[in-house]
Point group: C3
């Protein structure tokens, strides 16, 4: 892996990465943790431009913090209405302007393909912080990193992705990412919210995948439960929502008989998919994901800027 370099590269889709590159990024998470413990500020004098055409406090806070912890600075906007976009500027022009201000661009955009376009235009590296409904590569990388840190490995894991598998870009990127590893994957959702066909087709060729509606029977065999929020708005009939909601909720009851090493992950924010009573158990890893996310983003910023 010594010959892998990410200097100047864009991070647009998890599918652009080989397994070897992905493992390399995960290993850099550890390295950046060591460096920052020593107080290294390897991005001193560098500027990150954050362009959030769609609000996302959590992801923006994570990238901002990552940059500051490395000694860098951040400019940008958190809402499209504060931008020249309102005056009719194209994304391409916006990028050609802001590439003068920063050394790296982090972009979130509602449209599929926006991050790819930005990367083609920009003379500096672009990191996709979510575009359209399918791509959120840094979230997938931090999810992999969490599994590796908490389970010691990714190959061989029994995992379930649970909840809304249709609309959540987090689970799409994660499913693609997991398909690079030797895992056994369950996709648990109500029928209305099944995993998208194109994702399923892609990953089914690579790993063992089973779809289902019920989580509880599977729980005793699982190493990882990755649960997501089911949004009321997805259900024309509210009664359907109320019935379904309960069956995907993790409580102390549902965790009886699970493996000791089970970890429960969640991209957050949570509403009521996971009973707060779980928070204090060793299974609850969702807040630790935030910390791992920070490390992975610190690693990615350092890597594309060529400082590690």
């Amino acid at each position: 892996m010594g010959s892998i370099s990410f200097k100047g590269r864009d991070i647009i889709s998890i599918n652009d990465l080989t397994r070897e590159e992905t493992d390399y990024i995960l290993s850099m998470g550890d390295q950046i943790e060591n460096l920052s413990a020593k107080g290294s500020a390897n991005l001193c004098g560098k500027i990150l431009v954050t362009l959030f055409f769609e609000p996302s406090t959590r992801t923006k806070l994570s990238f901002d913090t990552a940059m500051y912890k490395l000694g860098g600075q951040v400019v940008g906007f958190a809402e499209p209405k504060a931008s020249s976009v309102e005056k009719g500027e194209t994304l391409s022009d916006t990028i050609k302007v802001v590439e003068n201000y920063g050394d790296v661009i982090v972009l979130r955009h509602p449209l599929e393909g926006a991050a790819r376009l930005a990367a083609e235009v920009a003379s500096v590296p672009v990191i996709n912080a979510g575009s359209g409904s399918e791509e959120h590569p840094t979230q997938a990388l931090l999810d992999l990193y969490t599994m590796k840190k908490e389970e010691g490995k990714i190959d061989g894991l029994n995992l379930a992705l649970v909840g809304d598998l249709r609309y959540g870009r987090t689970v799409h990127s994660l499913a693609y990412a997991l398909s690079m590893y030797d895992v056994n994957l369950k996709l648990i959702s109500p029928d209305q919210l099944r995993m998208r066909r194109e994702v399923l087709d892609h990953i089914s060729k690579r790993i063992s995948v089973q779809e289902g509606n019920s989580l509880n029977d599977l729980l005793p065999d699982l190493d990882v439960v990755y649960i997501t929020r089911i949004q009321k708005e997805r259900f024309p009939d509210l009664a359907d929502y109320e019935k379904i909601k309960g069956s995907y909720k993790i409580t102390p009851e549902t965790l009886k008989g699970v493996k000791d090493n089970l970890i429960i992950m969640h991209p957050l924010p949570r509403v009521d998919e996971v009973d707060p009573a779980i928070d204090s158990t060793p299974y609850a890893i969702y807040f630790k994901q935030v910390k791992y996310g920070l490390l992975i983003r610190m690693a990615l910023l350092s890597m594309v800027l060529g400082t590690i």
Copy 2:
């Protein structure tokens, strides 16, 4: 006082502080002024998380500046709508996320008790920048610090709190704070906006308090006038408002015969409670309060992070 340490402590309510601790904080205001004159950047590498669930330019600017002057960085949000709260996240979850990003949290929240809850959840110190209608401890501390700097002491002062004593959290926290000292306090307001009963009960046991409607007769005896904005919206009958408004306005006329050492304070923003003609007189201290506020917040951040 040498044994007092605030490292790791939360600053939630002025009522959590003893007089000895309060005096210690005020003395640290002077110390931080000396340190920063020497260019000390004792919070270098530290990150402040500002969570403003209720907008407040003035308080946010003050904390941001305090952190920057100490060499630290700031992440956070200035409006709830840019946050995950819109997606239904609990305050407790938000805190468990952002404690991964920063070394100290400054919180403003519309609900009573929010800052206390945040402090219980967070593994890092929480400073209350205003929650509900009663608590704004850093404002009270900067108000005390202003009195100490401008009058040389707090004990023995004749003070009047004037204007809207019912809805302003600033005057509630300040009244609690003053009740630790040996002061003579007048509470001057229209009947509709009298000081809240629970505050009055608390402070009346400790210090001499008189309520009244008229400021002008009292002025010649006062050392400190602390005046606040009266909001039109509080009056069902606009004629009442117009009549009352005038009687709480400080003009060059009303200041005839006052003591030389009188200081006029105001939490700002002012609308028309204080005639701008007063600004150039030695009585006008309201803009200097801003400077003292910056020093007190620099001191508090340094203290809870254990660097002074």
Copy 3:
């Protein structure tokens, strides 16, 4: 020019500057580029306060980046609604508050004269980032700097300002700025959007000015085309707009026969005044203006703070 000092000065209107001072500022653009290439952070420990009472992503990003590249910090707000102004505070009071927080203030305001008022009140330097419809001095300076860098000189140039000359403060400030030099200026616009009378009167006394409606005939003689966006809202009859719009659009066709040294400038954002096919030609300078703008703002901040 060695005796010129801008330390402590306000930058409010291009008309406050002599030609000698203007040339000095432009020369500082080069100097700051050299300094920053060496990694100089001459504003370390300084704080810029940005008060944007009118949103402007582009200008705010440019000033923020300028300050960060010099090692300084930035506090402020990007939208009036996040400010105390909503509570009825006067601009004068806002300035007296924020001058406690920063070493220099950058102000954008919708009202004519607001920047001048702020400068009179503030004890720290104020830089006007656009106020009312006439003044945007830092844009004019960066435009001059662009011409000097790209053409090697300003004196002797044949220039055309094209498009909306009535409502755009950019072209007003630039016209005033150009009138200090020995240039030949064409003002090309639809009749509804002709240059304001007061600007025309001022500059006509100093330089050769011709007004006209058609750009294409003039193009072969021009060194500089400065084109601006024509806004649909300015036309009561949409058919008028559609007809006019086309005649001020620069395409590869319209550029046949132009001088080799022609440069096309635009304050951005562009909508469709310049065909993107032009972007890759050597005539297209509009994205380089962004870079020059950053240098001029770095120079101005350093100059008023007395560090260069």
